[in-house]
Amino acid sequence: MTLRPAGATAVASATVILAGLGTLWHATDGLAAFTAEGARRLAVETTPRPVPAAAIVTGDGRVVDLPVAGRPLLVEFIYTSCPTICTSLGQEFLQIQQALSRRGLGGRVHLMSLSFDLDRDTPAMLAAYAAYHGADPAIWTVGRPQGAGALRSLLDAFGVTVIPDADGAYVHNAAIHYVGADGRLARIFDLGEVDAVVSFIESAAP
């Protein structure tokens, strides 16, 4: 090795800087996403990801298939005993349902509230949640995946993390997920983005 210490250090330091900046750039998707939630939203927008097929038990006792063939979906994950954020999710779905019906867009997309609380959310509970939030069954289905395996694969595919809270409640990254007619998760909207969701549905190809 003939490099003088200063030269060797300069080379080593420059390597560390380049590798470090490259890693940070890569790890933040080019400084675009610093949180897992931001990364999830960016990832599905750039590369829509397929949603696994799953059987959904609905509040009125039917079993429907997810994704719905040829029809875009808006999906949100809830549990019916949720005191806080799922109530907002339910209210936002109601607003979307109303806005879509008003504009005659009810056939463009189907709304689906999926419960991840398989223990407590019986079909009766799901039906009560649907009734409480004024779900129109033609547009909006409240259900839960049939079995823990189906739930797991759905949560993984959507990138939803559910963690139990102190007193039997759950914390989860709440959002409104758009699954295209091709069965791919393509957009994730934040809570409070009802107008953005409606205009997105309006502008999406029928």
Partner: protein
Amino acid sequence: MSLLRSRAAVIAACAAALIVLASPVARQTLEARLVTHMLVQMPLLALIGFGVARAISADPPRWLAAWNRAGTTGLLLALFVAMFWMLPRAMDAALVDARFEAGKFVSLPLAGSAVAWSYPQAGPIVKGVLNAHVVSAFGIMGWAYLAAPARLCNGYLASDQQAAGAGLLAAGLALSVHFAMRILRGPTRPRAPAGASVAARLCIDTK
């Protein structure tokens, strides 16, 4: 002989600590809360690397010193590792992705040993800048975690985020008190002789 034995004891203790930290029980316990993940597990991992490096030798090995003049390379390495693990999504990933978890158990001890073999070599200005940077990083991160309107980590509760924010601020405060005490107590290394050049007084390596 006793020096050798105590060195071996330190290295063995660090290795044992690493094994304990890597055990599923310790990982689950410490990673269950953001504050212990960030302010107990991660610093301990770095400390293990620091301890092993110091036990091997107080000064960096000769072959390494040539690549690490004034500790530049090692300090940069430690800074980048720290920056990476400050990303909320990196911590989230460590919870669900074994590759990230393994990477954490390798990179943080590595960063710790890099500090052990680099910080003492750095000049006083670099040290001062680093100290200030570390304190402000704790302050900024603590404030960000306390003030964030949404959860930053999908794997942790909002209350956890608040606790971590408070913990980061407390750690920053503790560090700044520590640095202030060092300044008040005066320099720990012997002063350069009266006739020494300015460069020598500033501990700048002019060779």
